[in-house]
């Protein structure tokens, strides 16, 4: 008998008076000791499906319209809420993507674990429950657990907090875990550690529903998979069979769009005798740590600590590293968004560090940036027309046409409709917004663009389109990119050279394919090993073996 059986689940949300279906007629089952992967792009209904199992969908605006959710033969949807509470946590627990919101900021982590333990087993003494909490912190790989248990959630890093959440979910020894994108915000090496934990749980006969947008994660972890799109299940099957021979067109598109570490680079650039466009020498960007009423500087965070490299005209240079490696800060320092502490950055031979604002201003049009978050990188109060022509006006580039004609041209250049120029950013989807950001950057005809995680927040199919757009524009307009990313697969595909950063220092650099296929540094090797590769049998067997 399956542990959980979902039959004909339909959930809708009321948005501005209209009922919009979020999940339609979804049926699946989970066997004991199995990992079921649920994969889909944003808005596919995968998270709502997960939340509905525990009736955690906010009602209103959400409404579970119909269906049955049978857990050990009992229908959870028709159970009184009081009885549901006994099941939540001890039988079925949930791990969310954002652990900060799920932990109380006012209590030390150990205390929260203790409360959880006491809920589960009220015969424990307080001291025993605390020790149990510490034991679980150790199990999820928190170093110095006894001491760290006294710390508050904000004193943990994102990965550590996620592990605390996982410890909290696991210590109740539930029969079923619903994990909703638990590793999406984490670095790959941390993600790999959390996979180990999850697979260990599985071997103890716990079932897991793993919800993710990442095909690689599905491949390494799950036994069976369901693919969701537009609130429905489009395909289901055993992982290996589904990856080897997808039946539905959508699944095929999805698998084709996923960048893989095993992909060949799109081009190979012959190294020639060229003068660098940007030269960076011994760059240090330190952030002051300030204390007190009048903000005295007491210490520094060394975000970038002595980095030197060149960027050549027409080249795409990848900058990779985990969070906190300083990769974004380097990009921001080149554009003067973060002030460099020392060192030298030259653009076409001109020193940028210490350049007065007025002299930097004409150079600004040569150096542009595309940001990660397509939602915060466009001013919500301006129309697309205003966004696109602002920089042109500033640099006196509006000759040869009305502002509308200029805006229309750049919108068409990035594959959007010129008619939409009077719309506001919130009327566009994430992928379209990123195209607007690209249009804004290229409209001033720059020579060099910093792409800071420019495709990381996008769904894979959209991501593939935006990458194609970036490459087209590069070749057409003769641009050079500094492509900052945590995603090695994307970097390998589009970058000519790559530089690997760790702790603000360069650990390795060279031709992208060379570095990723044969890393010479141990850190790089570890990073690459942790990247899940959909369809790579060796990696799947390796992680399944634990």
């Amino acid at each position: 008998m399956p542990l959980l059986e979902v039959k004909g689940l339909t959930v809708s949300f009321t948005v501005e008076g209209k009922r919009v279906p979020a999940v339609q007629d979804v049926s699946f089952s989970v066997e004991p000791g199995e990992i079921l992967g649920v994969v889909g792009e944003s808005g596919s209904g995968k998270s709502v499906t997960g939340m509905s199992i525990m009736r955690l969908v906010p009602q209103p605006p959400g409404r579970i319209e119909s269906g049955e959710i049978l857990y050990k033969g009992e229908d959870l949807l028709r159970k009184p809420v009081e009885e549901l509470r006994d099941i939540r946590g001890s039988e079925i627990s949930v791990i969310f993507q954002e652990p900060m919101t799920a932990l109380s900021p006012l209590h030390p982590v150990g205390k929260q674990l203790r409360e959880t333990a006491l809920l589960h087993d009220s015969s424990l003494s307080k001291a025993e429950a605390w020790d149990l909490g510490v034991e679980w912190l150790e199990k999820v790989g928190i170093p110095d657990a006894a001491e760290r248990a006294k710390a508050y959630p904000f004193q943990f890093s994102g990965g550590m907090r996620q592990r605390v959440m996982i410890a909290m979910a696991l210590m109740l020894e539930p029969k079923l875990i619903i994990a909703d994108e638990p590793t999406t915000a984490l670095d790959v090496t941390i993600q790999a550690q959390i996979f180990d934990l999850i697979l260990k749980m599985k071997r103890d006969d716990t079932s897991i529903i793993f919800i993710t947008h990442d095909m690689g994660v599905i491949w390494e972890l799950s036994d069976r998979v369901i693919v969701m799109k537009d609130s429905r299940i489009v395909e289901r099957g055993e992982v290996e069979a589904l990856f080897a021979d997808p039946q539905e067109q959508y699944t095929k598109d999805l698998l084709a769009a996923v960048p893989r570490l095993t992909d060949k680079p799109l081009r190979t650039l012959e190294p020639g005798d060229r003068t660098p466009l940007v030269e960076i020498r011994d760059l240090k960007t330190w952030f002051p740590v300030k204390r007190g009423v009048f903000a005295r500087t007491v210490d520094h965070v060394r975000a970038v600590d002595g980095v030197s490299f060149d960027i050549f005209p027409g080249e795409t240079l990848g900058l990779v590293g985990e969070s906190g490696s300083g990769k974004s800060t380097i990009g921001r320092s080149i554009l003067g968004l973060d002030e460099a502490t020392s060192g030298s950055i030259t653009f076409e031979g001109r020193e940028l560090i210490g350049l007065p604002r007025a002299e930097f201003r004409p150079l600004r049009r040569d150096l542009q940036m595309v940001f990660q978050d397509p939602f915060s990188s466009l001013n919500p109060r301006l129309t697309v027309l205003e966004i696109l022509t602002e920089g042109l006006r500033e640099h006196g580039l509006l000759d040869g046409g009305t502002p509308k004609e200029h805006a229309a041209r750049w919108l068409e250049e990035v594959g959007l409709l010129a008619e939409h120029m009077d719309r506001y950013p919130h009327e566009f989807s994430g992928g379209q917004r990123q195209r607007i950001c690209i249009a804004r950057a290229i409209a001033v005809r720059p020579k060099f663009i910093v792409c800071d995680e420019a495709v990381s927040a996008l769904d894979v199919t959209i991501q593939a389109q935006v990458i194609d757009l970036l490459i087209d524009l590069r070749d057409k307009l003769g641009l050079s990119y500094l492509f900052i990313s945590h995603d090695l697969s994307v970097v390998k595909r589009i970058c000519d050279r790559v530089i690997v950063l760790n702790g603000g220092k360069i650990v390795e650099g060279g031709a992208a394919a060379e570095v990723i296929e044969n890393p010479s540094d141990e850190y790089t090797a570890r990073l690459i090993e942790a990247v899940p590769v959909p369809g790579d049998q060796r990696k799947r067997e390796l992680s399944q073996a634990g």
Partner: protein, 301 residues
């Protein structure tokens, strides 16, 4: 290019908010009441329908509502809400007092808006030491006992209406600047501000074009809540005899006059207080409605 001239108009966040506001009955009541009372107080005195609010006619004192009477000079009068102990028309005095009260409310709020938004935006955007110093100034001003300062000011200077505007405006901008600063602190971390910097815009352009427009939501809400707060302050000051001086009236001074005679002539207290209370209600409903309508999180998707 024909296609570009007849492009569709985008729906701005402002228009979306208006649609949401229209659905809120209480807020719309507040809005219409506010518009109505403002029109009555400012336009009615321009028409020759109301008697002089300060003209006394002792022979016609303390009449009830809807009284018709003939004055000593032979003119026929109609008292909509009755007359006071000096024979002045209560309705005319409420309209006249309302003009003063609303004007104090609007002007003092406008002053606090202007100073508060610019001060807060500069402090928040520039940050660092300047921010620390500017906000300590605000803290110091906060700590001063407001009532005592107003009393000192009114004793030293002429007891004019402008002093009232100044005194109230000088206090109310403090909270406004804190609200704006907090908004700006989070806004300046947004990537669109970085994008504006990389386009080479000056700090002034960034503050006025990219930052201040995005603080408008909370600012509008706080403004609609500041107007009644200011009117209440003016009423308190007038009640204490520190505001508008007789024979001129404001709602505060009318309530004060009514309170003096509430045993003998309760209408003198009831009518001005009721209108005043309704106006404050209307503003607060409108403010609450605007807060819900402008909620950025709700409008994001």
């Amino acid at each position: 290019m024909d296609t570009i001239s007849d492009i569709e108009k985008g729906s701005s966040l402002g228009r979306d908010a208006w649609v949401r506001l229209k659905k809120n009955k209480m807020a719309m009541f507040g809005l219409w009441f506010f518009v109505g009372i403002t029109l009555v107080c400012f336009l009615l005195p321009l028409l020759p329908v109301l008697p002089d609010p300060n003209a006394t006619s002792p022979e016609l004192r303390s009449l009830g509502p809807f009284s018709e009477a003939v004055a000593n000079d032979g003119t026929e009068r109609f008292y909509l809400l009755g007359s006071d102990n000096l024979g002045r028309d209560i309705f005319a005095r409420i309209v006249d007092g309302g003009r003063v009260s609303l004007m104090v409310g609007f002007i003092a709020t406008a002053v606090s808006l202007l100073i508060g938004v610019v001060y807060g935006a500069v402090a928040g955007y520039v940050g660092g030491r300047l921010d620390s110093v500017m906000m300590r100034v605000v803290d110091i001003l906060y700590a001063l006992p407001f009532m005592i300062i107003v009393i000192i000011l009114t004793t030293f200077f002429d007891n004019s209406l402008w002093l009232l505007f100044l005194a109230i405006g000088a206090v109310e901008w403090l909270t406004m600047s804190r609200i704006v600063r907090a908004q700006v602190l989070s806004l300046k971390e947004q990537e669109f501000v970085d994008a504006a910097r990389s386009l080479g815009l000056s700090n002034g352009q960034i503050i006025f074009r990219h930052i201040i427009p995005n603080t408008l939501g909370p600012v509008i809400v706080y403004t609609t809540l500041t107007v009644p707060a200011v009117m209440r302050l003016e009423a308190i000051l007038s009640f204490l005899g520190l505001g508008v001086q007789p024979p001129n009236a404001s709602w505060g001074s009318l309530v004060k006059e009514g309170a003096d005679r509430m045993i003998s002539d309760p209408a003198l207290l009831i009518f001005p207080s009721a209108i005043f209370a309704l106006t404050l209600f209307a503003f607060n409903f409108l403010g609450d409605g605007l807060r819900d309508a402008l909620d950025v999180r709700a409008s994001k998707d």
